[in-house]
């Protein structure tokens, strides 16, 4: 099968013809950085456009139609506009923490973004403890949000940040516990190894009932982790103006916006990597012709179609459900999802041992 590191080696050899060794090393890292930045920004634009269009269709509207054919350049225009807006300096904010919050939120989303395997050999980071790395880095975002609310010197932002902190740390637990089901099943924490193992059967079918429960729990808690949908009470606009990013203006707000959309993508990507087979095609044991046809579809199309199905589910939930109250939110996590995922792990241990 095609391995993506062939392409990387070709680029490397090509560069060696023209530059010295240390120079090539520098250029390689530079290219990786540029690739990540461009991919991150383009993906954010695509996601914003999709969100606006899908939201519009749910509400029987057309959505953006003016800028370009079917409004496809609308997010680009929005980005340019937001770049040209004034960055207002607020009296009495803690300037250092106020700025640091943006960096933390963007770093958290971009570093987890780098860990996603897009194809065989096409990943930036592939740690041995990839699942663990994903969980630990994504929880840095909570610190960013808490700092943003705290440093703004505004009552609404503090309420938003506190709610967000309680919500994110609570839902992180069931998120981690449901990912642990996959770790028990595959016996590895490395994301690329977990994907390779799903060549014959995807994890969600391989693990039986516990994995299906874990997938549903992960979708719910991952959706809550992104501060969207029915769980968007940190930024409940009817109560708290805009929540923790009320005081952020212009491009500073743009970063929070960017990170929110990319977090949605990352949650969907991890769900499809761990549960739905990542870039592996759908294989059914015994159906050789079917498997043959499925192998001809490029892996990256498989991955992106799975991711966009998960994203569509998230958007569907967001535009259908009414917002929860804070007590309902915490009740859902601690009294429903948490016991379910704890018992599910016990069940999984037995499943692995006796079945």
């Amino acid at each position: 099968m095609f391995h993506f590191s062939i392409v990387l080696n070709c680029v490397d050899k090509f560069l060696h013809v023209y530059f010295t060794d240390s120079c090539v090393l520098f250029i390689d890292f530079f290219l990786v950085g540029i690739f990540i930045l461009v991919f991150y920004a383009v993906l954010a634009l695509v996601l914003i456009y999709l969100e606006r269009k899908i939201c519009a269709f749910f509400q029987c509207r057309l959505g953006p139609m003016r800028v370009g054919p079917f409004g496809i350049f609308q997010p680009v225009a929005d980005m340019i506009k937001i770049l040209l807006k004034e960055v207002i300096k607020i009296n009495g904010v803690d300037v250092f923490l106020f700025r640091l919050a943006i960096y933390l939120v963007i770093i958290a989303s971009m570093c987890t973004f780098g860990a996603i395997p897009f194809d065989r050999g096409l990943h930036v980071i592939d740690f041995n403890m990839g699942v663990f790395y994903f969980l630990s880095i994504s929880s840095i975002g909570v610190v960013g949000i808490l700092l943003a609310g705290w440093a703004s010197n505004n009552k609404y932002t503090i309420i938003g940040a506190m709610r967000s902190g309680a919500q994110l740390i609570s839902y992180e637990l069931s998120c981690g516990l449901s990912l642990m089901i996959i770790v028990i099943l595959s016996g590895s924490l490395k994301l690329s190894v977990i994907v390779e193992q799903q060549f014959y059967v995807w994890n969600i079918f391989r693990g039986g009932i516990p994995t299906i429960i874990a997938f549903i729990v992960y979708l719910i808690s991952g959706h809550a982790e992104t501060n969207r949908g029915p769980f968007d009470l940190p930024e409940a606009e009817s109560e708290l103006t805009a929540g923790y990013h009320t005081e952020y203006s212009g491009i500073q707000f743009g970063f929070f916006y960017l990170a929110e959309y990319l977090n949605m993508f990352i949650v969907a990507a991890i769900a499809s990597t761990l549960f739905l087979g990542g870039w592996m095609p759908l294989h059914i044991i015994g159906w050789d012709l079917f498997n043959e046809i499925m192998d001809h579809i490029p892996p990256i199309i498989w991955l992106f179609s799975k991711i966009f199905v998960c994203i569509f589910l998230a958007l569907w939930v967001r535009w259908t459900m009414p917002r929860l109250r804070i007590d309902q939110l915490l009740k859902l996590e601690w009294k429903i999802l948490m016991p379910i995922s704890l018992v599910n792990i016990l069940f999984m241990f037995f499943w692995m041992m006796y079945l």
Binding site: F29, I88, I107, L135, M162, S188, L189
Partner: protein, 127 residues
């Protein structure tokens, strides 16, 4: 020559992690710089006020806060450390065999009782 031989080893995950970190920092700093350079500026004494629906701000915003959030944070600590401890065990559970499974199970059941205790105490009830 040494670098050429070890090029692939040098492109290790940690180095790539720091590359992404630098890329993120570069993106935020660059965009803030461009925005500050291009955007219009005007000064107004009222512009810098905190946005609280137009009413002048009363009292300090950096005060005490509801204790309920703090209780949930403590509970989170307990269960998150449990997750951290269980992840390496979950990775090698197949090789450990049935006997060690019961030890892990004991640890796990104690934690489930912890959750039940907190539930009974009414910590999980938001007021």
């Amino acid at each position: 020559m040494f670098i050429k031989a070890n090029l692939y080893l040098c492109m290790t995950n940690s180095a790539l992690f720091f590359t992404i970190l630098l890329a993120a920092i570069f993106m935020v700093t660059g965009a803030l710089f461009i925005s500050c350079a291009l955007s219009p500026k005007s000064t107004n004494s009222l512009k810098g006020e905190p946005y609280e629906c137009g009413i002048p701000t009363r009292g300090a915003s950096w005060g005490q806060f509801k204790v309920g959030y703090y209780l949930f944070a403590i509970l989170y600590m307990v269960f998150d450390i449990e997750t951290v401890l269980l992840f390496p065990l979950a990775g090698i559970i197949k090789d450990l065999g049935k006997d060690s499974l019961y030890y892990i199970m004991f640890f796990f059941v104690v934690l489930i009782f912890g959750l039940i205790y907190a539930w009974g105490k009414g910590v999980l009830q938001w007021e």
